[in-house]
């Protein structure tokens, strides 16, 4: 890999100044960035190690549960507050990667991880995300793992995270710091669709860093489930995953949150399906019906048409688990 400078940051302000310069990147757990550097997909001149900053805390604030950007994936998954209040997040985290990776991976790094599209990883292949204007290798190529929602003629990649699917479902917000101070974004607005600019994965601007995420209180702890369908039982990215959270009172659904992974360039929240479930009884038939709604606007490519069938099946199955039907 290209020789680079390495600096340890001692303050958020220091990080922001450093990453405002071109060619500089934050390194957290390094589980994604270092791989990309080894394969020549990215070649920063300078890395800013942020792992010594005090951004690891997990605690309750007036706005809900606060999780620092440097909290490790494994720590978040085991945290008592998380397990008690938002078991969906714990389940999603445990469905991701491997224990070794989760021990290194941070919340911020997980949000910022890049697509696993194999064309993106191979510098000998065309890819608009890695090298804008070279074309999309996956369109017309091997696209079994690719998106069925929100694609563009420039890119059909998916965001690979499991954690983010749960956070999107749980109405989380993202706290961001930058040269102009702090700002907050809805988690569902953090990642973007590829459109004309697949090189941009999200709405983080140059010089900005993630400080934390916050999850508002909810009534979903009892009835939530993360279901990840994959080619092997562990250490594989999702073919389709579903985060399902229900608020069931007296046998009737009062609130629902649903998001899918493995189907779009961002965690794919299913607002319409959620609405359709309100006031319904948690039955297999109702779930199957609702799941069909999710597929409006879906578009398959040569090798991923199975997702059109797998996605609704997984939604229905996840809802069954969440509601205790299985």
């Amino acid at each position: 890999m290209k020789q680079f400078q390495y600096v340890k940051a001692s303050s958020n302000a220091g990080v922001i100044t450093a990453i405002s310069k071109p060619g500089t990147k934050i390194i957290a757990g390094g589980t994604n960035l270092v791989d990309l550097m080894k394969r020549g997909v990215t070649a920063p001149d300078r890395l800013v190690d942020i792992t010594h900053l005090p951004l690891k805390s997990i605690n309750i604030t007036g706005k809900g549960l606060h999780i620092g950007a440097l909290a490790l994936n494994s720590v978040v998954a085991e945290n008592a507050l998380v397990v008690e209040k938002h078991p969906l997040l714990a389940m999603a985290l445990k469905a991701g990667a491997s224990p070794q990776l989760r021990n290194m991976a941070t919340v911020g790094g997980n949000m910022m991880q890049r697509t696993r599209c194999t064309y993106f990883y191979d510098t000998a292949m065309p890819c608009n995300k890695r090298a804008p204007g070279t074309g999309c290798g996956a369109i017309g190529g091997i696209n079994r793992m690719h998106a069925i929602f929100g694609t563009s003629s420039k890119c059909i990649a998916v965001h690979p995270s499991d954690m983010c699917v749960a956070l999107a479902a749980l109405d989380a917000t993202v706290i961001i710091a930058g040269p102009k101070g702090q700002r907050t974004l809805q988690f569902t607005e953090f990642h973007r669709l590829p459109g004309e600019h697949p090189e941009l994965d999200n709405h983080l601007a140059t010089g900005e860093m993630i400080l934390s995420v916050e999850i508002p209180d909810n009534n979903f702890a009892k009835n939530s489930y993360y279901l990840k369908v994959r080619d092997r039982q562990s250490y594989a990215f999702a073919l389709v995953s579903v985060a399902a959270a229900l608020d069931i009172q007296n046998g009737v659904i009062r609130g629902a949150r649903l998001a899918m992974g493995g189907v779009a360039h961002k965690p794919w929240r299913l607002f319409e399906v959620e609405k359709s479930l309100i006031g319904k009884k948690p039955t297999e038939e109702n779930f199957a019906q609702a799941a069909q709604l999710a597929m409006q606007g879906a578009k398959a490519y040569e090798y991923n048409a199975f997702k059109l069938k797998l996605a609704p099946a997984t939604i229905a199955e996840a809802l069954k688990h969440a509601s205790g039907l299985v």
């Binding site: 292949m125 369908v229 994959r230 080619d231 039982q233 250490y235 099946a313």
Partner: protein, 714 residues
Amino acid sequence: MEEAIKTAIPSSADGMSRIDGRAKVTGKAKYAAEYRPDGLAYGVLAGSTIAKGTVTAIDIARAEKAPGVLAVVTHFNSPKVPGHQKPKKPTKKAGPILVFNDNVIHYNGQPIAMVIADTYERALYAASLVKATYNKQAHDTKPPSDISMGIAPWGKDSVRGEADAWKNAPFKLEQEYVIPTEVHNPMELHAIIAKWDGADKLTVWDKTQGTQATRDDIAKAFNIPAANVQVIAKFVGGAFGSALQVWPHEIAAILGAKLVRRPVKLVLHRQDMFTSVGHRPYTWQKVGIGATADGKLVGITHEAVGQTSTYEDFAEGPINVSKGLYACPNVTTRYKLLSLNIGTPTWMRGPGEATGAFALESALDELSYQVKIDPVQLRLINYAKVDPENGKPYSSKYLDEAYKMGADQIGWENRRQEAGAVKKDGWLVGYGMGGGMFGAYRDSATVKAVMRADGTLLLQTAVTDIGPGTGTAMVLIAADIMGLPADKIKFEMGDSSLPNAPMQGGSATTATVGGAVYDACTELKQKFQKLIGNGGTDNPDYAKILSDKNLAGLDVTTQSSLGADAQNKYSMQAWSVHFTRVLVHPATGVVKIDKVVSVADSGKVISQKTARSQLIGGAIGGIGMALMEDAIIDHRYGRYVNNNFADYHVPVNADIPQMEALFVNKPDSHINAMGAKGMAEISLIGMAAAVANAVFNATGKRVRDLPITPDKLI
């Protein structure tokens, strides 16, 4: 002979742990890439980005100027490898890749340049700066899909009895089966350190399955005496066949070391493991099979087309199982090779037979539903008591017992013959079985056995251990004959300068080297018994005898092989059968293996623990074959797209249930004194069908193109 067998299997053998287990798990075991000769430099290869054509220019200027770079080698500037000469007689194919020898590109990823630098990272970076210009030609990487494709390496069809007789049977079927390209992908990457000790003297630490074969090939390539080349492979982190030959990267490192006058280390990247060190070839197969109403096979026709490269033919035996596994009067086989712009395939665990067994054992399962006969029963009805190809008796065969052991252990009686009939907690439950065979080989090997003054025994031979636990088995054999505790015996191997031994391959090591250890130890013991005279004793006190006779030590060097007589008289085979219980989720198509029982009929078991590991490991390889492994090429570019461990899946712990490994454990009294046959290949052969058949039993869906991923079941 009987007597020898009894004593040769020590009861203390049961449960002895690997002699090198501790070294392996504590990191003390040194693998090829872990040696640190003074002045070590690092080589990194750059590969072609086209699949066919010629290299017209390579810009190395930026790479040469990059920090730490010692040399950039391409075919334009490479020192000549003296043994790299074009064959004098023109042949149809170009022959093996002669690295940096010419400008012709045969496959995507073929090495076109090597950067040598003072650190690995610097070499890696400089390699990314090498830019080639090509004259690109239309490539072909599309795998076979019909018997009309390719050429027959062995000429005509093989016909036993009547050709294509299955067509006349009352019950019959004809189906196509596909095994995609699989990559050996041992955990340890292929690696070499080459160090010249003089103009014609070389030391090489290498990942290889055969130190002496590698030594000879290198000596030939560089035109130096074989005695001047020392190849060391003390530990090998898996290979599965991929290290049975010398590949271009090994030659590259050696020529690089000569050029920069420093030892050079070259470790392949995971991507290169897909292109440059062989693979199990994508194979299309068609099986026609017919039987009478009572399940007697009338005929089998087995066709197969495997892929090979455009520059070499690699042929294996996928159709062998159809010739040998069952007593079927009429068997027709056709085998062809299709030349593509890919690296040449090579032997991969259970080569050919594993591919063929998937097709045959699936077809037999399909037939069992037609004739409505239990699959185990169907196999017993067609049980071969003599080799159906040549009528020879088997040196030993207890496969019927293996069937029974496996069926009992898995709970086969709970299987229902109709598919999709059993459900448990929302999952479909299915049972399946499949088996296989592989020739039981024994080669020639030489072992030196040295009894030292302190009463410890040293055994030496050049063989390697790529993982099965060879050293452990050898120590157990020696312990029994010599009457010594295992910790008084040292087995030294993995060095070409030791006495001759063949490559570790073809499941032949235990039979071959074990046979030689047996003979050497027997001879050495007799030498001691002669020394003390009087017919000796059964348990000589070696240290005392040496001291009494004022000797520093006593040794013998013994060569041993299988007599031609036994080989001519008997058909020597090893058998396996695998039983699986699987769960399939009806909505998501997820397959979970719930239980596996694998049974081997491979003669007497020498080392319980390592044999068990071997059988389990092979069966897990079969699960990978059934459910996951698939090296995918984007044919527009002729380039692999899932060439890493995140995308090319092999089973992880979560995929593996309780695995039961059972052994018939009855000696083959003809192959060697211990009665032991190899079991590396049979551990895998038949497993993929056992899984696919169970999936069918669970779901009623027959998947004939592996791997069985969830999308194929919804």
